[in-house]
């Protein structure tokens, strides 16, 4: 109870302001409070992601089948490389930020400005990379079919390799025009139609006897799955991959198809569980928004450094405060990277 014992001399000073019991200024302490609450927000999101993933643990998409693109390498299966690159960019911009803080402690204005500039560039590259990642995710690559029951069917050939819809779907002489407000009744319209209709996919599937259907279910060898006659006898050998059906079971399954899915949106996606894309958009989007606002704040501080504001103030603590925010953004990415791409 040492804090309550006050002498007449120090009483006025204890409550009179200007005290820093934690040895941190007001601004820095408030930045820490903000970071703690923001960290809890992100944990809430990631916990919700974990909840949904555990709920659909047997049908959740496998991340290395979803994120396997790399710039200028079309058709090359490159899982993880691109996000690893993004992670390096963000860690490196964190390093330049901490170097700027360090230079600020030594009151070296030009060095602070240089490192702040590099940090901003790193942040912009990261946001750009995220945009590219989103583009690929939204556009999709293979396409899939949704059944009446709402589960997703993907197509593979008889070696288990993924096949694109455009590689086998036929062109039927049918004319389904997208309903827009100016063509039909003024209040009715619909989203853009898939490239192929269900009938075109079904006809193409019937014409290619080597095609098979892969369901969302992750295969685990057990007596029940071994006795299951609808599962492909040779393609389901290793555990932990998506289950492939036999040709007969595939044909029966495809009769249930009612919607062709290409790419991803907030309603459905071609990768599997519908919630997967929602969480991807929401969590990486929220993180991307943090990076973007971090870049904006960094730019403001950068100009203040150039104008000599902190030189006149004789301390660069403002750089330290935005630095805290920037490192926090990096910290969140480390967790997003683990839970979306690795685990």
């Amino acid at each position: 109870m040492g804090a309550t014992v006050t002498t007449a001399k120090s009483e006025g000073k204890t409550w009179g302001g200007g005290n820093e019991p934690m040895n941190a200024s007001y601004g820095k302490l408030m930045m820490w409070f903000f970071i703690v609450s923001d960290a809890l927000t992100f944990s809430g999101f990631l916990a919700a992601y974990g909840f949904s993933r555990f709920k659909f643990i047997e049908t959740w998409p496998l991340p290395d089948e979803v994120f396997n693109h790399f710039p200028f390498m079309h058709g090359v299966n490159a899982p993880m490389y691109y996000v690893a690159l993004m992670t390096f960019i963000l860690i490196f911009s964190s390093v330049t930020m901490v170097l700027a803080v360090d230079a600020g402690h030594q009151m070296k204005k030009s060095k602070v400005a240089l490192y702040m500039f590099l940090t901003i560039i790193g942040g912009l590259i990261f946001v750009g990379s995220q945009a590219w990642e989103w583009k690929n995710f939204i556009k999709g690559e293979y396409g899939a079919v949704e059944t009446q029951g709402g589960s997703l069917l993907q197509f593979v050939d008889n070696t288990g390799k993924r096949v694109k819809l455009s590689d086998f779907a036929v062109n039927l002489p049918e004319d389904r025009v997208q309903d827009t407000r100016d063509k039909g009744i003024w209040f009715s319209s619909e989203g853009s139609l898939p490239t192929y209709s269900v009938a075109e996919v079904q006809a193409g599937f019937a014409a290619n006897p080597n095609l098979l259907i892969r369901t969302e279910v992750i295969y685990h060898p057990s007596d029940a799955t071994k006795a299951d006659k609808t599962l492909h006898p040779t393609l389901n050998s290793k555990p932990k991959h998506k289950t492939v059906l036999t040709r007969e079971a595939s044909e029966a399954m495809l009769k249930n198809a009612h919607y062709v899915v290409e790419g991803a949106n907030l309603v459905r996606n071609e990768y599997g569980s519908k919630l997967f894309a929602d969480f991807f958009f929401f969590i990486t989007g929220f993180h991307g928004f943090h990076v973007f606002s971090g870049v904006v704040i960094n730019i403001i501080i950068f100009f203040n450094v150039l104008l000599g504001t902190y030189e006149k103030r004789k301390n660069y603590e403002m750089v330290e405060k935005v630095g805290l925010y920037w490192h926090f953004v990096d910290l969140v990415w480390v967790f997003v990277f683990t839970f979306f791409y690795l685990v």
């Binding site: 934690m22 944990s43 643990i57 390093v95 360090d102 805290l324 490192h327």
Partner: protein, 116 residues
């Protein structure tokens, strides 16, 4: 305000090297997924995922301690930041994941067919 005005660029670069190496290890493990780790589990999670999560916390420690410079702050500030986070995050993860797993069991054993 930090109280040491000596430059610690050397430590910054060391931490950067460390974070890079850990990330490379994670990516290599993520690409190759060694069977021994991927197909054996501990507490209902496979060993590979345990390694990923532990390495992530290891990285987080270095980012917070070295980059955010919590190592140079007073211990009262350190604890008032770290303890609530550790406690609340463990708590929310525990209840959410247990609940998610429970609902998975309900779906699996129910008479309603949902995956068709």
């Amino acid at each position: 305000m930090s109280h040491d005005h000596v430059s610690n660029t050397k430590r910054i670069w060391n931490v950067f090297m460390l974070l890079s190496v850990v990330t490379i290890v994670e990516v290599v493990l993520g690409i190759f997924k060694p069977d021994a780790l991927y197909h054996n589990s501990f507490l209902a999670m496979n060993l590979l995922n345990w390694i990923f999560i532990l390495l992530t916390i290891y990285k987080a420690y270095y980012i917070v301690w070295a980059f955010m410079h919590l190592e140079g702050e007073k211990s009262s500030l350190r604890y008032s930041i770290v303890l609530p986070l550790v406690f609340l995050i463990l708590y929310i993860m525990f209840i959410f994941l247990i609940e998610g797993d429970y609902i998975y069991g309900i779906f699996k054993d129910s008479t309603i067919k949902w995956n068709f």
